[in-house]
């Protein structure tokens, strides 16, 4: 088991290094610079001063080495657009906000999604199935910006205690959490339905039934447990996506999270912020995938990490 851990860890570091390098190269090969501003270009003298201030006047290879050194020390540097916060500070402030929304959304998706899928499978081609599949088709196909706008227009505008947007109190988080949850909820429900249907047709379910075990027990102990496996396997990406925030949802609801940085940093060519959020996201994603792999071995008795394992 520990051997496996060490190997995975080493792999993760290499993956991270590759991501950093590719991002660095891509970022610097895109035209533009961090100091351009809509309608206002800056004179050459000022531009040169700025390049010097942020060390962008050095050759790229040198910048790359300096950058690698800083990452190892967990220092992402200064944002080129903000003179107020460093990239570390921006991530430290934005991530808890995004993560809170993400966790709430995850909770909603994990409670409703599997239930919806399981019910749909149990009542295949009957009324509950149709309802559940309509919900998940809406969830998968309606883009989040439409959903967000819809929620603001028809829910927030009519319900007094639900704010239209902004941040500060818990009630600010309700609508964005739901908007964020819809997509994973729908994905989970659909996945659950199909895997549940497959499991219900298996021989061991028939065996269980014929042994006279109660219907509830058969469904919960045998069907759901096996059907949930594919759902667990997509959780890694789902969780990391939810945790780091969504650009669209955060923009629409005015949420001061991490999600906005992903798009804005690229638009602004804020090099340090681009690298900061990329590395951070990569770390979250890699860790989540790792956790899911471990989780898989615990749930599914057929998968073993090592021969001696359990």
């Amino acid at each position: 088991m520990s051997k496996y851990f060490v190997r995975r860890l080493a792999m993760s570091v290499v993956t991270l290094w590759v991501i950093v390098t590719i991002t660095f190269i891509l970022m610097h090969s895109v035209p533009g610079n961090p100091f351009a501003n809509e309608n206002k270009n800056i004179p050459e003298v000022v531009y040169q001063n700025l390049l010097k201030k942020y060390g962008l006047d050095k050759p790229l290879s040198e910048q790359y080495l300096i950058y690698l050194k800083n990452i190892v020390r967990w220092d992402f540097g200064e944002s080129m657009k903000s003179n107020t916060e460093t990239v570390n500070e921006m991530i430290a402030r934005g991530f808890p906000v995004s993560a809170q929304l993400g966790l709430q959304a995850l909770l909603i998706a994990l409670i409703i999604g599997p239930a919806l899928g399981a019910i749909a499978a149990l009542y295949q081609n009957r009324f509950p199935d149709y309802i559940s599949m309509i919900v998940s088709i809406i969830g998968v196909s309606v883009p989040s910006f439409v959903m967000g706008t819809f929620l603001i227009q028809f829910v927030a505008r009519n319900v007094d205690w639900l704010p239209i947007g902004g941040w500060g109190e818990w009630r600010h988080t309700i609508l964005p959490s739901f908007a964020l949850a819809l997509m994973p909820l729908a994905q989970i429900a659909r996945l659950m339905r199909s895997s549940m249907l497959e499991v219900l047709g298996q021989d061991y379910i028939k065996t269980a039934k014929s042994k006279g075990i109660s219907r509830t027990a058969v469904i919960l102990k045998h069907a759901v447990r096996n059907a949930i496996l594919p759902v667990v396997s997509i959780l890694g990406t789902t969780v990391s996506n939810l945790l780091v925030g969504s650009f669209v949802i955060e923009k629409i609801f005015g949420v001061p999270g991490l999600g906005m940085f992903f798009v804005n940093s690229i638009y602004n060519r804020d090099y340090t912020l681009i690298m900061g959020v990329t590395v951070f996201y990569a770390i979250i994603l890699i860790s989540m995938l790792f956790i899911v792999d471990i989780a898989y071995t615990l749930i599914d008795p057929r998968i073993r990490l090592t021969k001696e394992g359990r």
Binding site: V30, P31, G32, A36, N37, E38, N39, K40, I42, P43, V45, V46, N49, L50, K52, K53, N83, T84, E85, M90, A92, R93, G94, F95, P96, V97, A99, Q100, L103, L106, L110, T149, I152, A156, R157, I164, G165, G166, W167, G168, E169, L220, K221, R225, I228, V239, L243, K251, I252, F253, G254, P256, M260, R269, I284, S287, I291, A295, L298, I299
Partner: protein, 550 residues
Amino acid sequence: MSKKFIILTSLILVLAIIFTGCSSPSNEGKDPAGNNQTAGGKKILRSNNSSEPGSLDPALAQGTHESWILENVFEGLMTFDENGELVPGMAESYEISEDGLTYTFKIRDGVTWSNGDPVTAEDFEYTWKRALDPELAADYAHILYYIKGAQAYNSGEGSRDDVAVKALDEKTLEVTLEAPTAYFLELTAFYTYFPVNKNVVESNPDWAKDPETHVSNGPFKLVRWDHNAKIVLEKNESYYNADKIKLDGIELDIIEDQNTAWQKYEGGEYHILVDVPTSVVAQLKAQNDPQLNIGNQIGTYYYNVNPDVKPFNNAKVRQALSMAIDCETITENITQGGQIPAEGVVPYGLKDENGNEFRDGVGSLVEYDPDKAKQLFEEGLAEEGMTLEEFNSGQFVILYNTSESHKKIAQAVQEMWRTALGIEIGLENVEFQVKLDREKAGDYQISRGGWIGDYMDPMTILDLWWSESAFNDVKYNNEEYDKLIAESKATDDQNIRMENMRKAEKMIMEDMAVIPIYFYTQPYVVKENVSGITYVPVRYPMITYADIAE
């Protein structure tokens, strides 16, 4: 359900919580009833600042998302009063030497910083030199280049001591300019010229990052800054003109999405909103809604025509392109924000030597005449030895930065040219930064351009096409034009300046170096119970003197 599954699910959740650093958002719980607390009998103006300020240090500010706040918390030597007139602010009086080069400001008695320190002439000297320090690398340092020795110091060639701004004593500030600058007084009301407290800045370089340590000298002071979420200003009781300030505070959300901000305004959460969605402006305008105000901005939307590409080097071709565009149709049916069809490059709102509209003194230099356009175009093509077929096979495109409104305008222009001149021009949208790069490299035929002025003088626009200007995208190079601009910059005789600038504008429009489309406007909405909002063309609507009726 399997125990293991429950354990696992909780494991993932717990790990996720650990990742979040176990902290709930810092602003949660800090001020849960904040809105209600402040609403009790106090006049708090609420609005939205569309983007997070990069810095609330005046020297490092870059644009409207910072200036709207800075203009309320700082005050320069001159300032704008409740009628939008330029009046002495931190300065009580000023004297200008005969030659128009030396300005001597007397600092007002008893003006203080929000921490109690007196505002001194030395603070100004320190501030301006600091903003020019090449190591600080201020984006807007160039707006200080009017001061003698400023550019040299900023470029690293001159020395700090040679910047000609000097505190003669605690209350007297002497500034010497490179050349007489008729609008220098107004510049001292621009945010880069706002003073900072020398002692505070020297002892704490991070002073501007935290409301606790932020020190300012304006009508309001910064009390809270939740990044990307909210900014709260409170009335500065020690401000010398505090009687004129009716508000007890200003609360600004930071919401980037225009529609969300509009929903909040409509839902009654804001008193004023500046960044209004275009479709809403059009609708309010059609309904003649009294909440809608449209201010003239000092800015022009135009198309650059690359003179290095044949046949755009021919003035007749460029004139024909301009003449074939019906600017009124564009402003009426596409932009719909009350924009004014262009009559030249200099927009409305700027005064000439007699206090009249500069624009009216020049008259309209843009005409819409498809027939004449066709004729000119054919002549121009013939002069270049080109046929219409050759032109159409040239695969010329209009280059614009990706945006719905730029696209619609480009499509309209494309169609107008097709109908009037029978030419086929394609459209190409790229990201803003890519467009800048390509313009710089001359890799375009026609590109969308725009400019918003910094100060209230026609020079803020005409300076763009001076041959050495950094912003001269079309690389317009006309000795006569340069001479006119140089002469206007070297004198403070308004008669000569204005006459020269009128000639310069006529010259550039005769050459049609750029094709003007419309003059920008600044639409904003104000609730009916709010009064005292003033509009100064180079600024965001001023909320400093606003009042709210119950």
